[in-house]
Symmetry: C2
DNA sequence: GTCGAAATAGGCCGTTCGACCTATCAATGT
DNA sequence: ACATTGATAGGTCGAACGGCCTATTTCGAC
């Protein structure tokens, strides 16, 4: 009873390397997807046990693909892969129905262990599994994106990164321009930035905001 | 006479997958580096035939690592790996002494082919090899970052992304503040940005400037 | 039950920004 | 030879920005 795997990553190099490794380790790699769309299609047609899914992919990101797969086939276990651990992305992925989360800096052995773990545990325990993987992530990666900026400040930053002016941010958040500027002033201190440009760039580097 | 390889990439997952694949294909993987510093150290101590080097790595980027390795051991052939094809990065990598350039979306077979190619050809031909790899890149990837902004404008953008104010950019480039503002105005039109924040973000998305 | 942090909002003030305009010079291409 | 483009530099002006204040409310923590 070998475990049937589906790999989803936009980089063929990683996909193929991963396939050989997983086959070596005794898994049955039933398919490879190069984007989110393909991942959803193949998941439905191939009915794998586990999907190893990259978060950043063309056409449809891994989180959305996970959501759609889980809607149709709730039995499939999705383990997310990502470059850097990012609290928000992790949270979103788990909400989308992923049972595990691995950074790309982990070893093949850790991937195997994670896959076997999610297959061993029943659905009721998968939340704990995810939690323990998160702990792992926290230990090995950034000590913490740990609330450097508050939730509201993060919203302001994201809107500015999305192209909004101070006035537009105020309108979108239903607050006064002055409050937006207050949040920005606070952000400048925390991120050691002298203007909105540097603040947004720092936030991008730290994974607080995302380039769309 | 097996070809001795050194792998340099900050993601263990890709590194290990690549190692298994390359070993399968008959190469001798003599070492793995997780950052630029380590790559330089290992290249010197292990004296590999070819280094597969990722461009984006902590501590020291792949381009700089390539430069240093080639300074000390000019015989080593460095093949660069990158997520997305970016004209500027490619040009910089070749100037640094890389003999080849591959996007991570290529197959293991293509990597093997590229490595065997750079080992077959003598130094005189390696420029052609690089050129043909570039052609490959141009076909498959972005049609062109194609001089959207001028060289000077790009310098201005990069300095602003690096944290310089208008005044500081002027000082660094030995031009007046007014000229910097002129360049910026031109950039805003070309990138359809309304301020420096959006201009820099667009430039980052387009790969024109790089976050350090 | 108080203390602190977060979110809200305002004023004031000097600096910077960006839009719109002209202008020169060198290089490049037709 | 002429047109175009890039790089340089300047002026003006209103809007936006950021620093430095105070102040209220709410909410969770201790």
């Amino acid at each position: 009873m070998t475990i049937r795997l589906l790999l989803a990553d936009d980089h063929r190099m990683l996909r193929e390397g991963l396939r050989r490794s997983m086959v070596d380790e005794g898994f049955d790699v039933v398919g490879e997807a190069a984007d989110g769309d393909e991942a959803v299609q193949l998941a439905m047609s191939l009915q794998p046990d586990v999907v190893l899914m990259d978060v950043t992919m063309p056409n449809m990101d891994g989180v959305e693909a996970t959501r759609r797969i889980r809607e149709v086939i709730p039995d499939v276990k999705v383990v997310m892969l990502t470059m850097h651990a990012d609290r928000d992305v992790v949270a979103e992925a788990l909400r989308a129905g992923a049972v595990g989360y691995l950074v790309k800096d982990c070893s093949i052995d850790e991937i195997c262990e994670a896959i076997r773990m999610v297959m061993r545990e029943d659905a009721a325990l998968s939340a704990d599994v995810a939690a323990s993987m998160l702990d792992e992530v926290h230990r090995t990666d950034l000590p913490a994106t740990e609330h450097v900026v508050t939730k509201r400040e993060e919203e302001v930053l994201q809107l500015i990164a999305d192209g909004c002016s101070t006035v537009e941010v105020a309108e979108r958040l239903f607050i006064s321009q002055k409050t937006v500027k207050n949040h920005l002033a606070s952000i400048y201190q925390k991120l050691d930035a002298r203007d909105r440009t540097q603040a947004v760039l720092s936030a991008v580097r730290m994974g607080i905001v995302h380039l769309t």
